[in-house]
């Protein structure tokens, strides 16, 4: 298991690093810290300056060295500086070259036009990544680096999240941690939650999906199942208990409405409310532990 950490010498970067440590501690594997610098092959108005580029490279190398020095001794690690036109492109390239099983980034919020704001980077990543992307919520660096205690797998309202479920199961086995199935139901209707019938129908549907998911799981593993409802996704997320040490698996395509970027709406909403890290598994990805 190799994790590519999209690192920057910022709180966001340290969030990603902290999550990386927890993942490695829970499921084993090595961390590969990657700083993405702007590629000079991208022509810009400002003439490139080899002197400055070198200075930048030295500075970045210093940041990486500092970050590596801060890692606990039990974590295998190395670091890389890559050059690419964008942060996400650099990470994707690095994840291919390093045969990474997961990309970890921090999801800072409130970045005005920022490259590392969740929207652009994460959705770029999710639309081309072949590997899952783990998003560390703001403040993950302060939560500590203890192993993750539980995996919650958010399954959609339609059946068929097999790849996602398999992946979550794999991780649960590997980390010897309990698995929880979660179905989020947003009753986004004019009547809102007042419409009893709609709520019941949605709940029924969700329950059947969860039941179906259970049948895909081996007998020795009986996951807890939670169905959360609310007027909006945010409300549904807020309505259930979150263990600070758990991690949520979601499929990138399951929760998305047609023609909607997943992270443009639903995942962003989830993440906004979610106090815990989230792993977004691309539709076509196959999660493995690489053994």
């Amino acid at each position: 298991m190799r994790y590519v950490i999209g690192y920057t010498d910022t709180p966001t970067g340290r969030d990603a690093l902290a999550l990386g440590i927890r993942l490695a501690r829970s499921y084993g594997g090595s961390l590969h810290l990657v700083i993405v610098l702007g590629s000079e092959s991208k022509p810009t108005l400002t003439p490139t300056d080899p002197g400055y580029e070198r200075f930048l490279q030295d500075t970045a190398a210093g940041w990486l060295a500092e970050a590596e020095a801060s890692l606990p001794d039990d974590i295998e690690h190395d670091s890389h500086i890559v050059y690419a036109d964008s942060f996400s492109e650099g990470l994707l390239g690095a994840s291919r070259d390093l045969l990474a099983s997961m990309i970890v980034i921090g999801a800072a919020r409130g970045g005005l036009l920022g490259r590392f704001a969740l929207g652009t980077v994460a959705s770029d990543l999710l639309h081309s990544a072949k590997v899952p992307v783990a998003l560390a919520p703001e403040g993950a660096r302060r939560v500590g680096t203890a192993p993750l205690s539980r995996i919650t797998c958010a399954i959609g309202t339609r059946a068929g999240a097999d790849a996602l479920l398999d992946g979550a199961l794999l991780f649960a086995r590997r980390g010897d941690s309990p698995l929880r199935l979660l179905s989020l139901v947003a009753i986004d209707q004019p009547g809102g939650s007042a419409d009893r019938a709609a709520v019941e129908r949605a709940k029924e549907h969700a329950t059947s999906v969860v039941e179906q998911a259970r049948t895909c799981l081996p007998d020795d593993l009986v996951p807890e199942a939670v169905i959360a409802t609310g007027d909006r996704i945010e409300d549904a997320v807020q309505s259930i208990d979150w263990d600070p040490a758990e991690i949520v698996f979601v499929g990138s395509s399951r929760l998305a409405r047609p023609q909607h970027l997943f992270l443009g709406s639903t995942a962003a909403k989830i993440l906004r409310e979610l106090p815990v890290p989230m792993v977004v598994v691309p539709r076509d990805s196959v999660l493995t532990l690489g053994e």
């Binding site: 298991m1 190799r2 920057t8 010498d9 910022t10 966001t12 970067g13 084993g28 594997g29 090595s30 590969h32 700083i35 610098l37 702007g38 590629s39 000079e40 092959s41 991208k42 022509p43 810009t44 108005l45 400002t46 003439p47 490139t48 300056d49 080899p50 002197g51 400055y52 580029e53 070198r54 200075f55 930048l56 490279q57 500075t59 970045a60 190398a61 940041w63 990486l64 670091s79 890389h80 500086i81 890559v82 050059y83 390239g93 690095a94 070259d97 390093l98 045969l99 099983s101 036009l113 920022g114 490259r115 590392f116 493995t288 532990l289 690489g290 053994e291």
Partner: protein, 526 residues
């Protein structure tokens, strides 16, 4: 524990340069800057539309109709110094440029002042750029809404300064966040700029031939004869202005190593850029003088009211309903130039911080945007404050800043030129190339700039110099130049007392080239 194909390490290693020291696989590389790209970058750094509108008036006021001659002659010292610049850049690529090179050649004190000169020049030009942009911003609005009174808003010092600060803030954010214009947009902007300037010239010719010119002045070969200029003082002043109009061109030379294609591409790009620029400057200046004359009438280029920004006044009479195109061209040209110019003081400040010539904070790199964050903000604040103060004490802020700018460019370019000669002193006669490019060209260029610098300094003491702004009977340009340089000396001494390492040569040693590259590293490693 991972499924790892053999060779994965190798490919990962290839994408990693964290461990290696040099500028290995960093993409300078694959050099995507082709011939056209290099020319486009060169032209957008020179920003001809902005440069002409800012410099044409002051130049006319110095040398009258001999502007074309001065443009041609002014290119010579620029070219000569640029050769030395290129040699130094090749031997010691460093973001501190003039600062680093002069320190290596002449030691910390002169090096510090060279860096200060560069920073002062770029900060002066930033405030001038923003000032021009403000004028054209309101002119454009007035053209769009067909309401001439909007254009006069720029005369209100409060509105003017506030708008200017807003532009400066915008440019700072763009620089700080490194939000670069894409190459496609650059092509469009540069193409548009050239088109509008040509259109401007052709329209002026049409007016001239149809007898509608404001002050028809028949074109004469004497305009191209530099010996027709009235006095040496005027000649020198004109020259230092024309150095400003070519400032930025050296970029095409230093880009050389990055340009793609054959070995001849960089040279061709630099040559083509300058040919395009010279022809354009000559065409526009000749047609402008032909149309408006050099008199002091309403649109005459000798009119002090319009000299700081001539297109602002001439766009309407020459292009009529299409005058808005000039506003857009100058605005986009200023915007592009703001972007490329902002980088320069920030990088020099960063290098000075890095080597201990300034507090270490200046060497901070933004961890999110990878730009010299602190240095960028300091430059922006300095340029904004400078503009705001000047707006209130100068009669013609644009004019005076341009003249003072010429002085600063002569100062630091002169030092840079001599740095080339002195730094390469042990190898000057090792090849014919060295004799010309490391000794003769920079030496002659440096001498010309030195003469220009001192002539400008002495002449500018006269209260009538430039726009005629003065304080207690001493020319404002002189006061400005001396204040800026004096301030540099004071800051240098303060820094030398507080943090003497750099001034003892601990971070950047004096030295002479032994023909190898990247000697800055060797010096800092010691």
């Amino acid at each position: 524990m991972t499924t790892q194909k053999p060779g994965a390490e190798a490919s990962a290693e290839a994408s990693s340069t964290a461990s290696s020291g040099g500028i290995s696989k960093k993409g300078l590389s694959a050099g995507s800057v082709g011939l056209i790209g290099a020319i486009v970058i060169g032209i957008s750094c020179i920003a001809p539309a902005y440069t002409l509108t800012a410099a044409l008036g002051p130049t006319v006021s110095e040398v009258g109709v001999q502007v074309p001659a001065i443009i041609i002659v002014g290119f010579i010292p620029m070219l000569l110094v640029a050769f030395g610049y290129r040699e130094l850049n090749r031997a010691m690529p460093d973001s501190g440029t003039s600062f680093t090179w002069a320190t290596r050649a002449f030691g910390p004190w002169i090096g510090w002042m060279a860096g200060w000169g560069l920073i002062a020049a770029t900060i002066l030009v930033l405030s001038n750029l923003a000032g021009i942009a403000v004028d054209f911003f309101y002119l454009m609005l007035s053209q769009i809404f067909s309401n001439p009174s909007i254009a006069d808003l720029t005369l209100n010092p409060i509105i003017n300064v506030v708008t200017c600060l807003a532009f400066m803030a915008g440019a700072t954010i763009i620089s700080y966040r490194d939000m670069q214009t894409t190459q496609k947009l650059q092509y469009v902007l540069v193409g548009f700029q050239l088109f509008v300037l040509l259109l401007f010239g052709v329209a002026a010719i049409v007016h001239m031939s149809s007898g509608n010119a404001f002050d028809l002045t028949p074109v004469s070969w004497e305009w191209f004869n530099p010996f027709e200029v009235a006095s040496f003082g005027a000649f020198a002043a004109g020259l230092s202005l024309s150095i400003f109009i070519f400032w930025g061109w050296d970029v095409t030379l230093t880009m050389s190593e990055e340009t793609k294609g054959s070995r001849s591409t960089p040279g061709r790009a630099a040559t083509l850029t300058v040919v395009i620029i010279v022809i354009l400057y000559l065409f526009v200046s000749v047609t402008s003088i032909g149309f408006a004359g050099v008199g002091t009438g309403e649109y005459g280029l000798g009119n002090e009211e319009i000299q700081g920004n001539v297109f602002f006044a001439l766009a309407g009479p020459i292009l009529g309903p299409f005058a808005v195109l000039v506003s857009i061209a100058v605005l986009s040209s200023s915007a592009a130039s703001l972007q490329s110019t902002f980088v320069s003081p920030a990088r020099t400040l960063l290098a000075m911080g890095h080597y201990g010539a300034l507090p270490a904070r200046f060497a901070q790199v933004s961890p999110r945007f990878f730009t010299p964050g602190f240095a960028t903000i300091v430059s922006a604040i300095a340029a904004s404050a400078f503009y705001a103060v000047m707006r209130f004490i100068s009669e013609d802020v644009l004019w005076d800043t341009i003249t003072a700018l010429g002085m600063m460019i002569c100062f630091y370019y002169g030092i840079t030129a001599f740095a080339s000669v002195w730094y390469f002193r042990k190898q000057l006669f090792k090849s014919a190339h060295n004799v010309f490019f490391q000794l003769l060209f920079p030496l002659i260029g440096g001498l010309i700039l030195t003469v220009l610098f001192f002539t400008t300094v002495i002449d500018s003491m006269n209260p009538e110099y430039g726009s005629g702004s003065n304080i207690a009977g001493v020319g404002l340009v002189f006061i400005l130049g001396m204040t800026v340089l004096g301030l540099g000396v004071i800051i240098m001494i303060v820094q030398a007392v507080r943090n003497p390492g750099f001034f003892r040569g601990e971070s950047l040693r004096r030295g002479a080239s032994d023909g190898t590259e990247e000697e800055v590293d060797a010096a800092t490693a010691a």
